[in-house]
Amino acid sequence: MATTYRTCPRTGLQFDLAAEKLMRWNAVAGVLWLLVGGITALLVILTRWPAIKLLPADQFYLILTAHGIDMLILWIIFFEMAVLYFASSTLLRCRIATPALAWVQFWLMVVGGIMTNVAIFQGGSSVMFTSYVPMQAAPHFYLGIILFAVGALIGCGVFFGTLVVAKREKTYTGSIPLVTFGAMTAAIIAVFTIASGAAILIPTFAWSMGWIKEIDAQLYRMVWWALGHSSQQINVSAHVAIWYLVAAVAFGAKPLSEKVSRFAFLLYILFLQLASAHHLLSDPGMSAEWKVLNTSYFMYFAVLASMIHGFTVPGAIEAAQRRKGFTNGLFEWLRKAPWGNPVFSGMFISLVGFGFIGGISGVVLGTEQINMLMHNTFYVPGHFHATVVVGTTLAFMSVTYLLVPTLFKREMIFPKLCQIQPYLYGISMIVLSLVMMGAGTLGVSRRHWDMAFSGAPFQYEWPGAAYLMMGLTGIFGVIAVVGGGLWILLVVGSLLFGKKLDGGATSDKPTPIPDQTAAAAASATGSEEHTNVPGTVVLAITLLVCFVLYYFVNWKYLSEVWGLS
């Protein structure tokens, strides 16, 4: 089969038409699941808002299960498949390996996703995203996730195959680009994650069919979280790769040092898998030594990697801006950044929100002893809405403003609304995360239908501040849903009604990078040439100060509770 390539006249990016179609379908499937996830988010928020309490208990738990699965798995992994194909075939300017197999990936994930959702909405599988045994869901709940995971595994295989194709057909020289390297990190972690998922979900499926009598509840938690948490590390790698991508596209930014950035990704590959321990710190079954070593990703080396990216991404932007002449003071480069461009604004809010809110709260939550203050409280979803939503989802949203014109050949409709959307969504989601963490600090439980405990034999009255935090959660949650809904409307509207753009020339051979594009102008690049980045140093030190203060404040809290030994 002949391969046809198209070179986008606006960006210089080259698309294999077979790969392009796969990217589009995967991205669109992701957006549709985000829509389902968004509707369920609204219902969850309106139920946990104490003044409204919309749904009855059974429907609340059903909807909450759907929200977790549809957002954390279906939306994000579909979009990541598009990212993997983009980072391999488009960035390496080569054909995609085995497009037919890639369609198997797509359809398996579609069938699996629908199957699991059918199980949830039939009502017998309200077991939450985590589906801890011995609570049992219908067999097709597990089977759907297994099929979906097999699909994702095939997608990773196609990605690796495409790397081989590019290498063999010599479509690039030297090493793969940093963004592709980041995507490769994500794909490697994905393979580990899916293997863990298979190791636990296949026996669990057999158990739900009655073929196996029992699954140890503690063992399930340990292996399941090697799927559950590691899959979030796929997201981290993917969205960090997208930060570098946006910095490159919006500013022509070069990594401060290829070596440092790639080494940081390597640390992710080596250590991020240990995170299943984060969920077992207050469990009976593991020793303290095991917990300390694993929760810290072996002495915090993966945290170190994130702190490095947190420096090099804004550093690359600052260096590029300074080279363009924005050299006044510490922050002219940042003030004069294109804040009206949603590709940049979304990416930058994602970076800051992930680092300051998601990152710091994650490390504190993952500290062995401090975890006892927060385990299973509302702090936990507060934390991961800052990482997975502000970090990953917002990064994906922002890169979509770039992809719609180049990949879908459509102009975005309502440019003014596009400008507002990342602020509306990003800021409301950051505040939402903070108030959720506030409620959790006061003890409020996650996955809990009724703060008033109606029907319980006793009463317990939460502090008034907890009700305030939950009310604010409701308000900012609704604003965030509006912000997310706006993005879906803008994207779907643009795909249907946006002005059609010229797709560019096609050819049956890969073409070299065309002249007069941003790609060409920056082609003779590599590590940044030692531009000082004082603004980034100030930002990084600010992060560190917040981090240290918040970390020790929590040790202080811990020292005041009952003695435990």
Binding site: R221, A288, T312, V537, W555, S559, L564
Partner: protein, 179 residues
Amino acid sequence: MSAILPPSQRLWWKQPIAGQEWAWIGIAFVWAMIMFVMMVYWHINGKQNLSNEVYRTTTEMYTAKTDAFVKENTIRTETELNIPVVRPNAKNEAYLLARLWSWYPILELEAGKTYKIHLSSVDYNHGFSLQPVNINIQVIPGYEHVVKMTPTKAGTYAIVCNEYCGIGHHTMLGRIYVK
């Protein structure tokens, strides 16, 4: 567009790293080590560490142990459900059983004394969330977790279940008195 292109210096790993980056990597590394040592330090000098004393158990075994403990040490019953209020035994041990959807029994402790509280579930996962102190421990069926607790202040405390355990999850509220 450089992070999306192959590095132009083919030997990128031989490029020097700028001083500012080295400095940040150094600071971040030191902070990572401090955080790591902090957890170890707290095991040596901190007063809040989760116990590692755990035994395998079964629904029948744990129910029998709890029933025997309740039978011997009950001091009164409360509410129209006649939930027993139980003092720890002479060895300062107490049993707390989690089930759909209650914490059984009510415990009555004394401030400043150290107790061995046995925790387990006889059905699903449950979450021991002591409020308003805010101590949270996972309770897993098949595992008997023996946690040493030293209450600091007199009062009435609630045990909220904070691990989702089905439709009656929100009614699963227990109680501990501290005198």
